[in-house]
């Protein structure tokens, strides 16, 4: 009887797992033409893939990589974040030496000396219509591309007490900054006002008040879609719907780690996490993790169901490495920037092996 129950349960788990995305992974490294295996960021532009590496920017097009370096005008060799202006297909490039802009072969660079950029250490960038929002080590910034006006947001004009902004996400109504050590900052487009969200536990490393606010002050990434905010921290993830917070930790969710480098939500519910221990996915109920196993390095896909039961889904491929920095989507496919290469997850359709 017990065996039967277990069998049914496993079968059901496998069925649930079928609903979760499965991928055939193709990995790119310097052997394929990437300028460096340490890939910090990835950005999909239709059929073109941009990769920001520790040693330049790379464009994958028609099966070949083209590399852009400081000799081409790139602000710095280390490219930390990428954002595409989907209207003009201009690429905004956050680097450790300023902000660059790529448009049809030409790279222009903005830095703290030649422009209103507050600091050359640029961690994040995103596009909101004609505005470019930037996260730097000395505050946030906004460039109005119509008027070339730069605005700086820091402790003098917003509620942030740390100015080390790490990530930024913008929609029509709101802009969110992940401020490393200062929680999440919200800008209301309509009212031109800033609001700050903090960990109700203060700077404690323990969670005293779960689901009563942001999980931790050391935020690394934000993703705001369909009026749902996701925040990634080095101590777990948070979801905020404008009224309620919900937090996710390794111990009580399918996150493979609390150390999160990026969060990127598809629609507010289906959400992906780049962690130091693999790529995680949450569909609102179940979790999945994709990685080479931490011990054997064998391809691994783990599924955690609503009941917390974890199962292994047999897979033959895995992302290049378990330490992941960045994510972007290409229709049903996913691209992942890892510390040892760029990975393309080619979606396996239901029923397909």
């Amino acid at each position: 009887m017990r065996a039967t129950i277990i069998a049914v349960f496993l079968a059901a788990s496998a069925l649930f797992a079928q609903d979760l995305p499965r991928f055939r992974w193709e990995n790119f490294s310097t052997a394929n033409g990437l300028p460096d295996n340490r890939v910090y960021s990835v950005c999909v532009d239709g059929g073109r893939i941009w990769a920001g590496t520790d040693n330049g920017l790379a464009l994958y097009e028609n099966g070949k990589w083209r590399v852009f370096t400081t000799a081409d005008g790139l602000a710095h060799r280390a490219v930390l974040s990428l954002a595409l202006d989907k209207n003009t297909h201009t690429l905004w490039i956050a680097t450790l030496g300023g902000l660059s802009r790529y448009s049809a072969g030409r790279i222009d660079t903005f830095n703290q000396l030649n422009s209103g950029l507050p600091n050359d250490v640029v961690y994040g960038v995103t596009v909101q219509g004609d505005l470019v929002w930037i996260a730097t080590a000395a505050g946030g910034a906004r460039l109005d591309t119509r008027t070339n006006q730069w605005s700086i947001f820091n402790e003098r004009n917003t509620p942030m007490y740390e100015i080390w902004t790490y990530g930024v996400s913008a929609a029509e109504d709101k802009v969110y900054y992940a401020v490393w050590g200062s929680g999440v900052l919200e800008y209301d487009v309509k009212t031109d006002h800033w609001l700050k969200y903090d960990d109700p536990d203060g700077e404690n490393e323990i969670v005293l008040f779960k689901d009563q606010g942001l999980i931790h002050e050391i935020t690394t990434s934000v993703s705001y879609v369909n009026k749902i905010l996701w925040a990634a921290t080095y101590f777990g993830a948070s979801r905020y719907d404008g009224r309620n917070w919900r937090n996710f930790l390794e111990k009580d969710s399918g996150l493979p780690s609390n150390f999160l480098n990026q969060v990127k939500t598809v629609d507010g519910t289906r959400t992906w996490f780049a962690t130091d221990k693999g790529l995680a996915y949450y569909d609102g109920v179940q979790w999945a993790t994709y990685r080479p196993a931490l011990d054997t390095h064998a391809p691994e896909m783990l599924v955690r169901d609503a009941a917390g039961v974890v199962t292994h889904v047999p897979v033959t491929t895995a992302p290049a490495y378990h330490y992941m920095f960045g994510i972007d989507f290409q229709n049903d496919d996913i691209w992942v920037a890892t510390a040892k290469g760029l990975s393309h997850g080619i979606r396996i359709k239901p029923g397909e092996k």
């Binding site: 003009t88 201009t90 448009s103 049809a104 507050p118 008027t147 006006q149």
Partner: protein, 649 residues
């Protein structure tokens, strides 16, 4: 920019600390040596000054038609000309060779496009930042559409979108004709000005009158943007090394060959070899599939320069091309097969500076009216129409005979003012050795060229100077970055004769006319200042910084280091020399004329030698000792505020 110390050579000068922008220091300031010179000149040209007050206000619409751009209807029955001087578009009956209608448009119109069915015209109003849509049959305005800052060139893709090159926005706006709304801002380059569509409308090409800002004292470079009109995206930037001012561009009917008129300035070497052609190369960019890339071929010939090439046209059968020379008042006829052969030759790259090369493909040069701008070729290639801007006429060229067969006048005032005569001189290259260049070669469209020059025969790399804008400068003497010219008569007379043209200079009545024109060059509308003058919060904060007399720690800023002391008065200059610490070892003197700041936002690069690419760099790089105003106590957001304010001046 010269925000900084003053009085170091102005003995006895006492600054008025209460003087704020808008209040002139002129009355209070004792005259220095240079100013005394200026005073004498003013007395001698009192009538010119009296005229100037009126002229400055009216200059945007001069009263002279000044045809600039042309477009032909597809059936060839109508030619439309944009009259930038009177703010109109005229329709010309090509059979009768007569004006058939007129319609007023916006301020200082510059470019025109027509729908393939000939029903609608679209005209850029460069001072109004708008586009006028016109019913071509009725010659009536229909709608006013938005554009960027100083829209100039315009092209229609045949699908429902207009592409507008915005000179002061450095971008191309895409305007949806159905909704009348801007749908995209495509990244262009400095001084985006001219646009042309391929015959099928699939591609749009855009050029720029200013170079892309590069490293200090490196060769200029420009580009032609190629826009995929289906995707409405810039897909290619055709590199034009060593090129700066690039004007009209055209594409052959089959889309395989493109031509653009351009200048190759020799600004890195002393301007002492004019007789060797080392001032400008008047050239043509030849690009496209027929060439397999882009090359630049000269239009100049030895001692027979083709100055300021401007308008271009290719015949439908691809046998000929035509280029206007707005400085030497002629149209060149090019044999396209020979031109393409030259462009494909292994030696093509070396040909760009070869003054004997043009004889390979230029088969005739036809004299036309003054300052020919754009040209339009009939579909059968038989007739070429030329807009003679400073003759207020259109030349009709019989291309078979390669001669002018008629001229249409556009209703210019009967009398020619001194200003207009001066404008003709300004745009003429006749005065320089071999007619190789003129004032307008550097001061493109009476502005500047975005370049720094090694002008005088003082040795290589000595006294490099940034080309300054000419808007509203009548009362901003002295002139020249070292302030050595007390008045424009000196600047434009003996100085140009000796250091620029090396042939003859402007003298007597000509000089007076020229100066009267320059003094009347108006200030373009400022795009950053609200019409009611109200400042944004950032601009207001910046103004407070501009006017401050104390550092942030409360200690007083010495008078000579207060922004508004040197940059005072109506034009934001006290008209004195100052050492603001920006002098280079190659400068003979560290004393720099304090420049006016009006419309300073438009005139990058900055500083006397153009070494600062942006306003920010003036203080982030070139003011380490607070000699150019006290700015090192400012944080970055405060500097941004200061710049936001400067953009409104």
């Amino acid at each position: 920019m010269g925000m900084g110390k003053q009085g170091r050579i102005a003995k006895g000068f006492t600054t008025n600390r209460a003087t704020a922008p808008g209040r002139s220091l002129t009355a209070a300031a004792p005259l220095r040596v240079q100013s005394r010179h200026r005073q004498g000149a003013v007395a001698g040209t009192a009538s010119i000054f009296a005229c100037f007050v009126f002229a400055a206000a009216a200059a945007a619409q001069s009263g002279y038609p000044s045809p600039d751009d042309l477009v032909l209807s597809a059936d060839g029955t109508r030619l439309y000309a944009v009259l930038s001087g009177t703010g109109e578009v005229v329709a010309i009956d090509t059979a009768k060779r007569a004006v058939a209608g007129r319609v007023p448009v916006g301020k200082v119109p510059r470019g025109i496009a027509i729908t393939p069915d000939g029903a609608r015209l679209y005209v850029t109003n460069s001072w109004a930042d708008t586009i006028t849509e016109i019913d071509a049959a009725k010659m009536q305005p229909l709608r006013t559409l938005p554009a960027g800052f100083e829209p100039t060139g315009i092209a229609f893709d045949g699908r429902g979108a207009l592409y507008v090159a915005n000179r002061l926005s450095d971008n191309v706006t895409v305007v949806d004709m159905a909704s009348g709304a801007i749908t995209r801002h495509l990244i262009s380059a400095h001084g985006a000005s001219y646009a042309a569509a391929s015959a099928d409308g699939a591609r749009i090409y855009v050029t720029h009158i200013y170079p892309i800002l590069g490293q200090f004292r490196t060769p200029p470079r420009s580009e032609i943007e190629e826009i995929d009109a289906r995707a409405q995206l810039v897909t290619n930037r055709i590199a034009l090394p060593d090129a700066a001012g690039v004007f009209h561009v055209t594409i052959s009917h089959d889309g395989r060959l493109g031509l653009a008129a351009l200048l190759r300035p020799r600004n890195l070497v002393p301007l002492a070899h004019v007789e060797h052609g080392w001032a400008f190369g008047d050239s043509l960019a030849v690009f496209g599939d027929d060439i397999g890339g882009a090359v630049q071929l000269p239009l100049d010939a030895i001692e027979n320069y083709f100055s300021l090439p401007f308008g271009v046209a290719i015949s439908t059968d691809k046998k000929r091309a035509y280029v206007s020379a707005s400085g030497t008042n002629e149209v060149a006829v090019l044999d396209l097969a020979r031109l393409v052969a030259a462009a494909r030759a292994p030696s093509a790259a070396r040909m760009a500076n070869d003054l004997s090369a043009a004889s390979r493909y230029v088969i005739a040069r036809i004299p036309v009216g003054r300052n020919p701008r754009n040209i339009a070729l009939s579909a059968d290639g038989a007739t070429l129409w030329v807009a003679n801007r400073l003759d207020d006429s259109i030349s009709i060229i019989d291309t078979a005979r390669m001669a002018v067969s008629g001229t249409i006048t556009l209703g210019a005032p009967a009398t020619l003012t001194a200003q207009r005569r001066g404008e003709r001189l300004f745009y003429s290259s006749a005065v320089a050795f071999g007619s190789s260049f003129g004032c307008a070669s550097c001061h493109i469209d009476s502005t500047f060229d975005g370049l720094n020059w090694d002008l005088e025969p003082d040795g290589f790399g000595i006294d490099i100077v940034d080309n300054r804008a000419l808007e509203d400068i009548a009362d901003t003497s002295p002139f020249k970055w070292n302030g050595q010219n007390p008045d424009l008569e000196t600047e434009c007379g003996p100085r140009t004769e000796r250091y620029f043209f090396r042939s003859q200079g402007f003298r007597g009545d000509d000089l007076e006319d020229l100066v009267s024109y320059i003094k009347a060059i108006p200030l373009r509308p400022n795009r950053y200042r609200a019409p009611d003058g109200e400042l944004t919060p950032a601009q207001e904060r910046g103004k407070t910084i501009f006017l401050r007399t104390n550092r942030k720690d409360g200690t007083p800023i010495p008078e000579g280091d207060q922004c508004f002391v040197c940059h005072s008065g109506k034009y934001y200059t006290n008209q004195l020399l100052a050492d603001v610490g920006t002098g280079k070892p190659t400068d003979r003197s560290p004393l720099i004329d304090t420049p006016e700041l009006t419309n300073v936002v438009n005139s990058a690069p900055y500083l006397h030698d153009g070494s600062a690419h942006t306003l920010e760099e003036i203080w982030t790089i070139f003011n380490p000792k607070d000699q150019h105003g006290v700015t090192n106590d400012l944080v970055k957001d405060e500097l941004n505020d200061l710049i936001e304010y400067l953009k409104t001046l």
